[in-house]
Symmetry: C2
């Protein structure tokens, strides 16, 4: 269904704009994704939004999105660049905004045999880090991201943006630590943590997939009991004054080591 | 000199708060750094702020900072937690805020023999990426960061925070591309770029230091003429749908490859 909205005070504009806040995302089970690149990546994964907002863009990728929405009977809303800017918080006349349904995969539905690398993040606080970790997961061919304890909302606008579309290619699972470890130990898999206390350099072990790479909170790192659960605790060389890397960077350096070892097997 | 400020409208409070904006940083040649961890890292590098604001913190690291400032005849200002929060934009009762002099190193003063890895960033737009790249540079023992063309201000509050103190351990240089290449070619060094068009996997070449790792703009990557100047163009394996990594992540994966090759030499 194609329709047009021209008023700032339209209830749908207000409702969509409210999805920038976590409590409304949670209440509706919906989230926002913005920009042709990310929405096109989602479409290529077979994921279309529930609603698509555009401002009459002439870009061929926008036309493709609109055509796909119309073929699927989706809700396409043409509006003014001003209203689109109000929804998206951006001044991009070519912008499109999609309203998507939450994409959480329950732990019980994860197929660990699907991939050799899985990323597990604990109490991650920064939405940019979360999105960047999803993007890295996509790059190394990870199966998905498992969020432990109180991580930042993976469906925030900042996280979706930083993921650059990987939110639609990586599965996302939320679990408590106890649930996760019970599930993990019910099948094959090595849990790998990075720690300042680790004796082993991260390039020393031969890793055997499926590898579950555990990334800790940005400020505190991993709790001791979580480190104790790891099958391997390793450290990256730190040649300078700092004793740690950014969480998304540490995750990527480890994930590429896992991938590189896979490539050489 | 120790003194106390109790009023929000104090001109010094306004002046320091103005350093959150680039134009005032530029006009004054000063910038802000916040938090005991970062200020302590700076002090351990022998760098003290011009002014230190605190709110009567009882933390031993705060006491160490105040003692070092007083021994050096620096300006220590005690204020209320509210005013400190106004300056720093944070609600941390243990916070300290330092006002530091700009730390730019002219290209002509860089000693390339000092380190085997140097990071060169071109038109970087995100202050978090810039700070994260500095932090990674510290971790891999890089000599410093060279900023080409119009990069985001390395002295922004976000960049300083993301660097976690590496702003004080890494040299920072600003240069135009032509100046940089003239300087680069006047001595030894390989310029290494990452590119989607590269035929070579990033683990294939044997790198010979000093390595100058060139990181492109987040959205556009490197301009073609810049890629053409590179001695080596390499690519990271991308196993998923995305065709690129976050700029700070790509930089870290490459930088650790350089470090790992160094470690095995």
């Amino acid at each position: 269904m194609a329709r047009e909205i021209t008023g700032f005070s339209n209830p749908l504009v207000k409702r969509v704009r409210s999805l920038r806040e976590k409590k409304f995302r949670k209440a509706e089970g919906l989230f926002l994704a913005e920009g042709l690149r990310i929405l096109t990546e989602a479409r290529e994964e077979g994921v279309l939004p529930e609603m698509l907002f555009h401002a009459g863009s002439a870009h061929p990728l926008a036309a493709d999105l609109i055509a796909a929405m119309e073929a699927a009977g989706g809700d396409v809303i043409e509006t003014s660049p001003d209203i689109l800017a109000k929804i998206s918080g951006k001044d991009n006349p070519q912008a499109v905004v999609g309203v998507y349904r939450d994409r959480l995969t329950p732990l019980a539905k994860l197929d660990r045999a699907k991939a050799d690398i899985w990323i597990v993040a604990q109490s991650l606080r920064d939405p940019g880090n979360l999105g960047t970790i999803l993007r890295t997961g996509d790059a190394v061919g990870a199966g998905g991201l498992i969020l432990i304890d109180d991580c930042v909302d993976p469906f925030s606008v900042e996280s979706v943006r930083a993921s650059m579309g990987a939110l639609f290619t990586q599965s996302i699972t939320q679990a408590r630590w106890g649930e996760f470890t019970a599930w993990l130990r019910a099948g094959p898999g090595e849990l790998i943590g990075t720690s300042l206390k680790a004796a082993q350099d991260y390039q020393e072990p031969r890793y055997h997939g499926p590898s579950f790479l555990l990334v800790g909170n940005e400020a505190q790192g991993l709790p001791e009991t979580y480190e104790a659960e790891c099958d391997l605790l390793v450290k990256m060389p730190m040649m300078g004054k700092a004793d740690s890397l950014n969480a998304a960077v540490a995750c990527a350096v480890m994930a590429y080591e896992l991938l590189n070892q896979q490539r050489k097997r």
